[in-house]
Amino acid sequence: MNRLNIELPGLNLKNPIMPASGCFGFGREYSQFYDLSKLGAIMIKAATVEPRFGNPTPRVAETSAGMLNAIGLQNPGLEKVVSEELPWLAQYDVPIIANIAGSVEDDYIAVAKEISKAANVRALELNISCPNVKKGGITFGTVPEVAKQLTKKVKEVSEVPVYVKLSPNVTNIVEMAKAVEAGGADGITMINTLIGMRLNLKTGKPILANLTGGLSGPAVKPVAIRMIYEVSQAVSLPIIGMGGVQSAEDVIEFFYAGASAVAVGTANFVDPFVCPNIINELPSALEQLGFEHISECTGRSWKKDGQPAYHRA
């Protein structure tokens, strides 16, 4: 019995588990540990038009049950991603979700247009929520109208469905979700990192060269669950949930909240085998709880009997 296959716009997933963007590079490193075809999908590192070095180091700092990162969207640039990374990934039977970022609208549009042509790119993930980039980025992720417009423009040029990645650093996440839905998004991914900071006890100064960084890991899970719970009831889009997932049980909790698939970020650093381990453990975890298929879990925290998973009545 296949308890794990999931259909989402553009994505025919053998299982709903995928590494989160920025936590898996372009897959090369983790291919040393296991066959990437086991994964439901791969969300690759954000691509920008030009190569970016990103922020100065230190770029990571540990916090209680979490970590801060301020990588600053380092990536080899659109051209190299398309000519080197994606073809390399094509050897695996795994759909790619391309995370795209930029400072101005045109950046996003340029990357979306090109990268969505790649055969193994089955969806885009519009990163309007990166907390570690000074210019532009932030208003895309915090002002509903701006997010809506960007979504619309990207949809116009993209050859594949567009998922928009929401920032948790907002007063009203539901408003943002509705805006990108109105802009034509095919799905939502959430949450990106919370903005945080750590100071060095000896110097008094921030540990991260960028001063602030994005908080991820188990610490943020309750915030992610709450936001997915809210958003999944307010829009008719499927949600790929993330934020602190470490185990099959966490995955099920995200589904209960309203997710239809789940991405795993920070946990890859703790255990490089975390994704295949979760994929292996999910079927028996579901069976123990009495589910025939993982899709039965979606939205269980708020669904009345017979209500559909993510389509409003």
Binding site: E29, Q32, T57, P58, A61
Partner: protein, 256 residues
Amino acid sequence: MIKKELSKIISQKEIAADVYELIMEADLVSEINAPGQFVHIRVSNGFDPLLRRPISICSFDKKAKQFTMIYRKDGRGTSLMSDMEPGMYLDVLGPLGNGFPVDEVNAGETALLVGGGIGVPPLYELSNQLIEKGVNVIHILGFQTKSAVFYEKEFTENGMTFITTDDGSYGRKGFVTDVIKELSFDCLYTCGPTPMLRAIEKGNPDKKLFLSLEERMGCGIGACYACVCHSSDASGSSYKKVCSDGPVFRAGEVII
């Protein structure tokens, strides 16, 4: 190949103030291919602390499947490690990174190994392998103060060994760079705090020189871009990852 393995603690002892020598048994020893590689250790099986800790391999014994680490008890992770006892297991990921190239110096030539503080350990295996090869090895080991000194005997058995302390409480007072100036050598290998590495690079522009860098890490395997440094080429966007391209670089390869 990188392995992830529950490795058994064979022995642990405090060999200087807050400095511990930890001997582990693990299959991954068979994969070690150079001195200066490191392992990435998960100290708890929960999330306190969450991330792994990078620690250099100080020496290893392929036959016994054992390797030794030396670390300083500092924050939460290393404190927890220091509480562990023989027979317990640690989740170890490794071997990681590219170590010191032993083949850059020939038998009969002289290699200078310069370590600062907790940068000293990876030089020990390097010293062993160079000696084995017939290289003359000179060690300069800098510590803050007398109580921090370790492995003097081990290094001295391999070759001439200078100890410096910042406060002069043991060996020569001053910095390792003062000693380097007085010596002649064919190749210099070094590991220690970044300011020391910078000073050594600056002071020895024409020498064959290999430096082991340190940077805060996420994944330890090259996937997260936490540990990058700029390559020494013009573009500004080209880089090296300390964890997977390093931690050892040839002088001039990266900007430190």
